[in-house]
C-alpha cells in the first residue's frame, strides 16, 4: 500500500514538474521522500477516523489483503495509463472486505468520504482557477528575465512540491499504516536521555519507507503519465496546479489549521483523506476553464472519470477474491469471528440508547455471527432505518477487551492520551469487558473520556471525533480472544 502510494501519488505531485523538465527525477524523488516521511512522522495522526468508521478491518491477515488488493488495483489501472485515486481504491477494498465478512457498510460514512472527493475536486479546481487569474497578470507584466523567471519557478516548484509532499504524507500515511497501529510490535527506542522514538513513530517511519521505495521504483512512469500524456502543462501552469493541490491537501490534512479555525470560531473543514489524483486533475481542469475551456481534452477527462468509478468496484472485487484465496488456500485469518448477542445486558443498553425494544422481539435472546443476518431480521420490521440497525448491531457486538496499561506504555501508544486519561486507564487496568460500550462507560468516569451527547458546536464535534479515534486505538489494543465462540 505504501509502495503504491509512493508510486501513484508522488507522480501526482511532481509529475508536471518532472515532465516539463523543470526538476530532475532524482531531485523530485529525494524531496518527495524526505517530506512525505516528515509529514507522515510528525503530522501522521491526521484523518484516519473516517476510514475506520467505514469498516474496521480487525485481523492482520485481512488488513494485509485489503492493502494488497488496493495496491494491485492501483498498479493495474496505472499500467493502462490513468492516474487513480489511492483513497478510492482503499475504500473499494474495504467494501470488498465488508462483503466478504458479512459486515454492513456504513452508507453515511461512505457518503461523507465520496462527497469529500467531489468537494476536493471542486475546491482544487476553484483554487487553481483563482491562482491562475492572480498569477496571469503578474507573469504577463513582470519584467523579470526569462532565465531568472525560470530559476524562480524551479525554486517555487521545489518549495511547493515539498509542501505538497508533506501534506500528502500527513494526509495519507494513516491509510497505509493506520490498520497496523494497535498490533505494532515496535517498542520505544531510546537514543539518548532526551531523544526517544516512540513505537508509533517507528511504525509511521516504516510506512514512510515503503512509500519511498514506491517513489524510487515506479513513480517515474506515473509522473510521465500524469505530466505528459494527460495534460500538457507549462512550468508556470504546473506551478499553479501544484500550489492548488498542495493547498487542498493541506486543508484536508492539517490538524493545526483545523485547530486554528476551531479556536477562532470559523467553520472547519473535515479532516478526511482525499485523493491527490482527483485534486491534481481538478486543478488542471480549473486552469483549463480559466483559460477559456478550449484546451481541455474532454475525452481523456472522461476516461479518468470512468476510471474513478471503475477503481473502487475493481478494488472491491479483487479484495473479495483475494480474501477468499488467503482464507481458504493460505488458511490465514482475515477477520475476527464476531458474535452479536441480544441478551439482557445488550437489550437494556439498546433501550437506554432510546430505541424501541419492541421491534427487537425477533432477535431477543439470539446470537448471530454476521451483521447481515441481523440486518435481514431487523429490516423486516420496517420501523428501523439502516443507520439505526447499524447502531443496534454495534451495541450487540461482542468485543472482548482487557485493559492492558503496560502494553499501551510499551508500544508508545500512551502518547495519544492525556495524563488524566492515562490515570483513568491505569485505574481500570486488568479489567475485562464484553462490549465496547462497557469500556466506554467505565472510561467516561474521567471527564476527558466523555462524549458530548448532543454535540452542537464545532469544538464539541471535534472533541467527539478525537475521542472516537482514541477509543478505536484502545479497542484494538485491548482486544482479546473470545474464548466462548465456536471455531
Amino acid at each position: 500500500m505504501g509502495w503504491s502510494l509512493g508510486a501513484n501519488d508522488t507522480g501526482n505531485i511532481f509529475g508536471a514538474a518532472v515532465e516539463t523538465r523543470m526538476l530532475k527525477f532524482k531531485k523530485a524523488a529525494l524531496i518527495a521522500a524526505i517530506f512525505i516521511t516528515l509529514g507522515a512522522v510528525f503530522e501522521g495522526s491526521g484523518p484516519s477516523n473516517t476510514l475506520g468508521r467505514l469498516g474496521s478491518v480487525d485481523a492482520l491477515g485481512g488488513a494485509f489483503t485489503v492493502a494488497l488488493a488496493a495496491a494491485l488495483t492501483i498498479t493495474l489501472i496505472v499500467r493502462i495509463g490513468i492516474p487513480v485515486s489511492t483513497s478510492q481504491t482503499i475504500v473499494g477494498a474495504i467494501i470488498g472486505w465488508n462483503l466478504f465478512t458479512g459486515r454492513l457498510t456504513d452508507y453515511s460514512s461512505l457518503i461523507t468520504i465520496a462527497s469529500s472527493w467531489v468537494m476536493a475536486f471542486v475546491l482544487s479546481a476553484s483554487i487553481a482557477a483563482i491562482l491562475f487569474h492572480l498569477v496571469k497578470p503578474i507573469i504577463n507584466r513582470s519584467r523579470t528575465h526569462l532565465l531568472v523567471q525560470d530559476l524562480m519557478i524551479r525554486y517555487a516548484l521545489i518549495v511547493v512540491g515539498a509542501f505538497g509532499a508533506y501534506s500528502l504524507g500527513a494526509n495519507n500515511i494513516a491509510n497505509v499504516v493506520g490498520v497496523f497501529v494497535p498490533v505494532s510490535p515496535f517498542k520505544d527506542l531510546v537514543l539518548s536521555s532526551k531523544i526517544t522514538i516512540s513505537g508509533l513513530q517507528q511504525l509511521y517511519l516504516l510506512g514512510a519507507l515503503s512509500i519511498v521505495v514506491g517513489i524510487y521504483t515506479y513513480s517515474h512512469k506515473v509522473m510521465r503519465t500524469v505530466g505528459k500524456d494527460l495534460f500538457h502543462l507549462s512550468p508556470i501552469t504546473a506551478l499553479v496546479a501544484l500550489s492548488a493541490e498542495a493547498i487542498v491537501l493541506f486543508i484536508f490534512a492539517s490538524r493545526g489549521l483545523y485547530n486554528i479555525l476551531l479556536n477562532s470560531g470559523l467553520p472547519t473543514i473535515p479532516l478526511v483523506p482525499v485523493s491527490s489524483t482527483q485534486v491534481i486533475v481538478g486543478a488542471v481542469v480549473g486552469i483549463g476553464l480559466a483559460k477559456g475551456g478550449k484546451n481541455i481534452r474532454y475525452n481523456i477527462l472522461g476516461r479518468i472519470s470512468l476510471a474513478w468509478i471503475a477503481a473502487p468496484v475493481l478494488a472491491a472485487l479483487i479484495s473479495f477474491i483475494l480474501l477468499f484465496i488467503i482464507q481458504n488456500v493460505f488458511e490465514q485469518k482475515v477477520y475476527q469471528d464476531t458474535r452479536y448477542i441480544f441478551d439482557r445486558k445488550s437489550i437494556t443498553k439498546i433501550s437506554e440508547e432510546g430505541f424501541d425494544i419492541s421491534c427487537l422481539s425477533t432477535v431477543n435472546g439470539r446470537t448471530f455471527t454476521t451483521e447481515r443476518e441481523i440486518y435481514q431480521e431487523l429490516s423486516a420490521q420496517r420501523s428501523l432505518g439502516r443507520d439505526e440497525i447499524i447502531r443496534i448491531i454495534r451495541l450487540a457486538e461482542i468485543h472482548r477487551l482487557k485493559v492492558d496499561y503496560d502494553k499501551l506504555m510499551a508500544t508508545g501508544m500512551d502518547k495519544s492520551f492525556s495524563t488524566a486519561q492515562l490515570a483513568r486507564l491505569e485505574a481500570i487496568n486488568e479489567r475485562t469487558y464484553n462490549h465496547k460500550w462497557q469500556l466506554d462507560a467505565d472510561l467516561a468516569q474521567e471527564q476527558e473520556f466523555e462524549y458530548y451527547e448532543e454535540a452542537a458546536s464545532e469544538r464539541e464535534k471535534n472533541h467527539n471525533q478525537i475521542l472516537e479515534g482514541k477509543l478505536n486505538i484502545l479497542y484494538r489494543a485491548f482486544a482479546i480472544e473470545d474464548k466462548s465462540k465456536k471455531r
Binding site: 516539463t20 507584466r141 523579470t144 528575465h145 526569462l146
Partner: protein
C-alpha cells in the same frame, strides 16, 4: 579564432571552458543572461557599423570601409561563438526547458541577420561596384530603413526575455521598417534601370540593392517566429 575576455585569441572550446569557469563564479543564470545580452549588443553594433560602412563606401573612404568590414567579420565570429556557448549552457544545465527550443531558434535566426550584413559588405569589398552619386540618397535611405528594422528587432528580442507585453510594439516597428526598406528599395531599383548605363552594371547594382533589402527581410523572419513564441509564452 576569437578574442576572449582578456583580449587573447582562442578557439571556441577555450571560450566555452572560460564560460564554464565564469559560470562557476557567477550564477549560471546571470551568466547566460549576460551572454544573451552581449549577443544582442553585437547584433545592434553590427547594424550600426553596417550603416557607417555603407556611408564610407558611398563617400569613397575605402580604407575606413575595409576597417569596418573587418570589425563586422569579428562581430560575426563572436556572435557565432556566443550562440554556441548559450546553446550548450541551455541544454547542459536544462535551463528554460519549455522555451529553450524557441530561444535557440530566435538566436539562430538573429545570427543570420549578422551573416547577411557581413555578406553584403564583403560583396562590396570584392566587387567594388561603382555607384553613381545620384543614387546615394536612395541608397542611404534603404540602408537606414534596413538598419532600423534590425535595431527594432534587437529591442523586440530583448523584450521577449524581459517584458513580454512590449514585444508586439517592437515587432510592429520591424514590419514597418521592412516595408519601408522594400518600398525605397523598389524606387532605387527603378531609378537604376532608368539610368543610361550598361545593362551589366544595372544588373550588378540591382544585386547590391536587393542585398540591403534582404537584411530587413531577415529581421522580419525572426519577428514572424518571435510573435508566435510570444503567444506561446503568454499565460
Amino acid at each position: 579564432m576569437t578574442k576572449n575576455s582578456l583580449g587573447i585569441y582562442c578557439n571556441i572550446d577555450e571560450i566555452v571552458i572560460e564560460g564554464e569557469i565564469m559560470a562557476l563564479l557567477l550564477k549560471t543564470t546571470r551568466f547566460v543572461e549576460s551572454q544573451i545580452d552581449t549577443f544582442l549588443d553585437i547584433v545592434s553594433d553590427s547594424a550600426t557599423t553596417f550603416q557607417l560602412a555603407v556611408e564610407d563606401y558611398l563617400e569613397g573612404r575605402t580604407q575606413q570601409f575595409e576597417e569596418r568590414l573587418t570589425q563586422i567579420c569579428d562581430y560575426e565570429h563572436r556572435a557565432d561563438d556566443l550562440r554556441v556557448s548559450i546553446e550548450r549552457f541551455l541544454y547542459e544545465r536544462t535551463l528554460i526547458p519549455e522555451n529553450r527550443g524557441d530561444v535557440l531558434a530566435i538566436l539562430e535566426n538573429t545570427d543570420e541577420v549578422i551573416d547577411n550584413i557581413k555578406d553584403s559588405l564583403l560583396q562590396f569589398s570584392i566587387e567594388l561596384p561603382h555607384i553613381p552619386s545620384e543614387l546615394n540618397d536612395l541608397w542611404m535611405q534603404t540602408t537606414r530603413a534596413s538598419v532600423a528594422a534590425v535595431e527594432q528587432l534587437v529591442y523586440a528580442v530583448r523584450s521577449f526575455f524581459r517584458d513580454l507585453s512590449a514585444v508586439n510594439n517592437y515587432i510592429h516597428k520591424v514590419y514597418f521598417f521592412e516595408r519601408e526598406a522594400d518600398h525605397i528599395g523598389e524606387r532605387l531599383r527603378r531609378q537604376i534601370f532608368g539610368m543610361e548605363i550598361e545593362l551589366s552594371r544595372k544588373s550588378q547594382l540591382r544585386f547590391f540593392a536587393i542585398h540591403i533589402e534582404k537584411i530587413s527581410d531577415a529581421a522580419q523572419n525572426v519577428c514572424d517566429r518571435l510573435s508566435i513564441y510570444t503567444i506561446k509564452r503568454q499565460l
